[in-house]
Symmetry: C2
Subunit: 263 residues, 2 copies
Amino acid sequence: MDDFIDQKVSIIGSGRVATSLAHAFKAQGIFINEIYSRSITHAEKLSRALPGSSATDSLDLSHSESKLFVVAVSDDTIHEVVGQFQPPKGALLFHTSGTVPIEILDTNAGGIFYPLQTFTLNKVVDFKTVPILIEGTDTHAEDVLLSLGSTISNHVKLVSGEERKKLHIAAVFASNFTNRMLAAAEEILQDTSLDLKILEPLVFESIQNAFDFGTDKALTGPAKRGDSKTIESHLKSLDQNPALKSIYDRLTAMITSKFSRPN
Amino acid sequence: MDDFIDQKVSIIGSGRVATSLAHAFKAQGIFINEIYSRSITHAEKLSRALPGSSATDSLDLSHSESKLFVVAVSDDTIHEVVGQFQPPKGALLFHTSGTVPIEILDTNAGGIFYPLQTFTLNKVVDFKTVPILIEGTDTHAEDVLLSLGSTISNHVKLVSGEERKKLHIAAVFASNFTNRMLAAAEEILQDTSLDLKILEPLVFESIQNAFDFGTDKALTGPAKRGDSKTIESHLKSLDQNPALKSIYDRLTAMITSKFSRPN
């Protein structure tokens, strides 16, 4: 931070990302000034958890002492918020979305500060390991955002808008769709005496192997082995669940086409 | 184990499961007697790592002092091995497959001892947390296999053949297909300055949330939010990769149909 560590940050938003970031900044000694939410009740709730901050439902923040304004609202309301925002002179405005392009900031200086993590529950996230991907409207804004990021994370990186977008799609596969695979496993087990928990050691070992040794080496199972007898038997068992059967079929085809020689 | 802890176990097979189990038994003070492999070289290699054991490429084990014989070979060779196996009187024979039914044991007493874990690399597996699913040809065999399992694992459970089969299908989704989702993420990132490792904290947080709080609560992302603008933009970006585009489309449809109200 250097020039900015003594400065105040204001938070536009009161949801999961806003709350997580506000607490992470606060823990690093950064003063949280205004908390904005359309709902003053929501703003007040977060503000109470951050002594010294004040709640507001007005986007006229032209008299704020903050130089940094974090827009952590849902993707489809960023545009509206930026349009109504009245910043003090010299302020930098940045949003936290993996998908919304930097052009949405319009004439505001600032950028994007995208924490690559899932914020889903009342659970404290350890930001130290969370990658934060930065894009700035100019090199000064980038420097400020890189410094701000490095106060809370050890993995802050400058990326282009195109790279951030690809990363967001990759994150959908790696996080949302792996979740859907676990939900599928849960569906399959629903009429048995077994529940999803029994798969926990397998899943963690398998995922850890993928990161440690590469996805190809870590992969096991009937599709990789080219074990068509087991695959056919599994598909037949999924007759009553056409959606899962179709996914099984396609993912198996993708795996077998890659590992076409049985091992 | 009680009656069995002093007895000898013989291992039919020398692959990853055979090796892992042999070492796990040995570590619990169970004596490993014969190691069989079609390839005497392979049998000798594993035998050297287990002092006191002997290597063989003959399935005439009628003179063995073992009472327990673990068949840990690939699914499609279990039948052949069982057909040629000549056991000593009173021996119990069991295989370790999640898919092969108990009937394959033919007239042999014994059962199934299925460790629900991925054995993919030269990596020691901590069996204590690995679920071991048991099915026996009779209650005596079940008791013996439950005892044997409990020497190496804290999660030994009797399941029916039908349940074990469902569990195996569920494991394909939870392990092999989550791996495929990570491989997809890797593909998407291949032309960027980013690699799969950047997604590691996200994936572990997301998976841990799914096990701790349930798959529905842990899920985040554009499909769950009903954010059709982001979904369309992602699909367009995947135009050059029809296989991933199709998977994205289907999994998104499965998620949106479940969470039809935007949140």
